[in-house]
Symmetry: C2
């Protein structure tokens, strides 16, 4: 691969990121955290930051959780295969669509059983990125800290949302990014992250996909895939970083910038550890269960700064990339609405209050759905040119 964008991928690694994610054996001071990680948009893993949480010992015992939340109705996400907020074949076209899970209000003990002892026909995942830990799971609040003190001091604010995640090894989260500084604490089991910095946005092959949703019938135990009406498009990464062995070669040909570029940062976050995941970093997440039969994590979303880094990112993202088989720049391409102005609109919408963490059940998705993004890339070859 050649060109200036490829050099950017290399340079950011040479200058600051290195090849592995830093590990701190104790919490940093707020100044150190801000200077060495947040300001530099650099992830790190912190040990011994949540050792005092009662959750660390209590939550590995399923009966403790089931008792604490015995009468709580929680939002259970159901899919046939553990892939929600992911790309699946479109039900009526020979293309892909972006599918969300069926969300089933469920009594917590029943939900936990479905996660720990998965039936063959569905995968259940407790995850609702709408500040759910402080709402649906408020009975557990005293088992954790309300925020990460050194992060709050560094960032100058309290978390805008705190989310709980309880899943099993079948659930994955596909590549995406969030407009938040993220402190991700694992309480039970392990989370396996693949991370790419914002500089690598073109390697994600972000493209608009029609939005769809699983509808699960409890009567016959079957999922129906329903495309949203009216049509809605979601910009999403086309890359599956862990394809089946048989399709790896084909995927590499379709997404050479991802598969032939610098390896993503691979990070396993164990129970008791906290990952700092900087805003705008792309992340793909898998998980391994702990002693209680599931993986449990709590993450804290803090407001990010929409600063010069964000402006640079939008600029980079606005630059087109096409295969040498399709060198014609469509008319008006340079004036499309995917440039920084579109992102300013996005920013405005974020600050308009209609996405506040406590009122919006789809805060995470909405964020990404209004995200600016590249036009469709046409990539039929492993040879590329960049149009600048």
């Amino acid at each position: 691969m050649e060109g200036k964008v490829e050099s950017l991928w290399e340079e950011v690694r040479e200058l600051t990121l290195g090849t592995t994610v830093d590990r701190l054996q104790s919490p940093p001071t707020p100044l150190q955290f801000l200077r060495d990680f947040v300001s530099q948009s650099k992830p790190c893993i912190i040990s011994n930051a949540i050792s005092h949480w009662p959750a660390l010992s209590l939550w590995s015992t399923p009966s403790y959780l089931a008792t604490a939340l015995s009468s709580s109705l929680v939002s259970l996400h159901l899919t046939p295969d553990g892939q929600a907020d992911a790309l699946v074949p479109h039900p009526s076209q020979s293309s892909l669509c972006f599918v969300s899970a069926h969300v089933q209000p469920t009594l917590f003990p029943q939900a936990l059983d479905l996660i720990r002892l998965p039936p063959s026909h569905l995968v259940a995942y407790l995850q609702q990125q709408n500040d759910c830990f402080r709402t649906e799971y408020s009975e557990l609040e005293s088992d954790c800290d309300a925020h990460i003190p050194w992060a709050s001091e560094a960032l100058g604010c309290l978390p805008e949302a705190v989310n709980l995640w309880i899943g099993n090894h079948l659930s994955q989260t596909s590549f995406h990014k969030d407009h938040y500084e993220n402190l991700y604490a694992v309480v039970s089991g392990e989370k396996h992250f693949l991370l790419l910095p914002p500089t690598d946005v073109h390697r994600m092959y972000i493209k608009e996909y029609p939005a769809a949703r699983y509808s699960y019938s409890q009567e016959n135990g079957e999922f129906r895939l329903e495309v949203e009406e009216p049509e809605r498009y979601v910009p999403w990464s086309s890359v599956d970083p862990c394809p089946a062995r048989a399709s790896l070669k084909q995927e590499s040909l379709k997404f050479p910038l991802y598969f032939n570029g610098p390896k993503p940062f691979e990070v396993t976050v164990k129970a008791g550890e906290v990952l700092y995941l900087p805003s705008m970093w792309f992340h793909h997440v898998r998980q391994s269960p702990g002693d209680g039969g599931c993986t449990i994590a709590v993450n804290y979303w803090y407001d990010m700064q929409f600063d010069i880094k964000y402006a640079y990112f939008n600029f980079l993202q606005s630059l087109p990339c096409r295969s040498i088989d399709d060198q014609t720049i469509p008319e008006g391409d340079s004036e499309d609405d995917s440039g920084p102005h579109a992102s300013s609109n996005h920013l405005n919408s974020r600050f308009s209050g209609d996405e506040s963490a406590t009122n919006n059940v789809e805060i995470h998705k909405d964020r990404d759905n209004v995200e600016v993004h590249e036009r469709t890339f046409v990539l039929d070859s492993s040879m590329f040119v960049w149009f600048f």
Copy 2:
């Protein structure tokens, strides 16, 4: 003007910079300074940060300085017109060259007289960006703080260089940038800055110019302009932001991205105030004398982080811009040595130790001289295309 780079200039202002430089009425906490300014690459002016310095009252009295430094030999910079580190007509070609001042070791009291009461044939400026305050002017050290405490704590280090500047209204510093976080304290008189963020690099029309030097003859009081042998090239901004009225139109046609783009930030820093000038910001400086007949400032250079912002800057700078009259991309252009790899070399050279502040009398110039930069822009029209 159109295009994605122009949108970047606008977006960084809309998102974070605004249209004026923030003013703080008291020193920020280290965390606030790091979070709100350094991390965001955003300048600010701080009042009441150096009120306790004895220098503020003492240095406006020329006799105090002349007595304190009565036997000090200092590096006096002499030019015919106050323009050093600036572009002037090449002595033997119909083009420009980059000229440095004649540096004359001079007893301080004599140097001060030349600044306060300038003769008609020369302009004298005491400025030596080699940590001179702690070397040539060490007798004055107790009149100031050795560092800016909240900045040192925020940045996690002590200044790499502290420089003293004593000049008059005739001296200007042309547009350039430094690879340092800069805390610039004015002690007497006023400094007038024009500032442009790193995102605006193309508006500076940085081009390589042959290096030259003034040689001043004390015998006949004349300056000779000598081009360096062997030839050496210095990347420097082609833009004079304050051209003579008669040539403004012509300059606007030559440098439309500068003159027709967003206005630079205009900042006057008065005696007793401190400017935080973020690394990589372009700055042009004029000055007005204080009561003692000269302008006096002390600046603290702190190491910058070579992080994702720096990588984005190098990427941006590597993108070519040419006039629509010259749309042919020269062969091999995308592979020239002005890309991020070249900047990595620069970084290596910075860390190689051959530019340490205490050993290198030309630390500032060397920094910029090895700077990566754009190839020559051909700009004969106010209409542009960007090549992406």
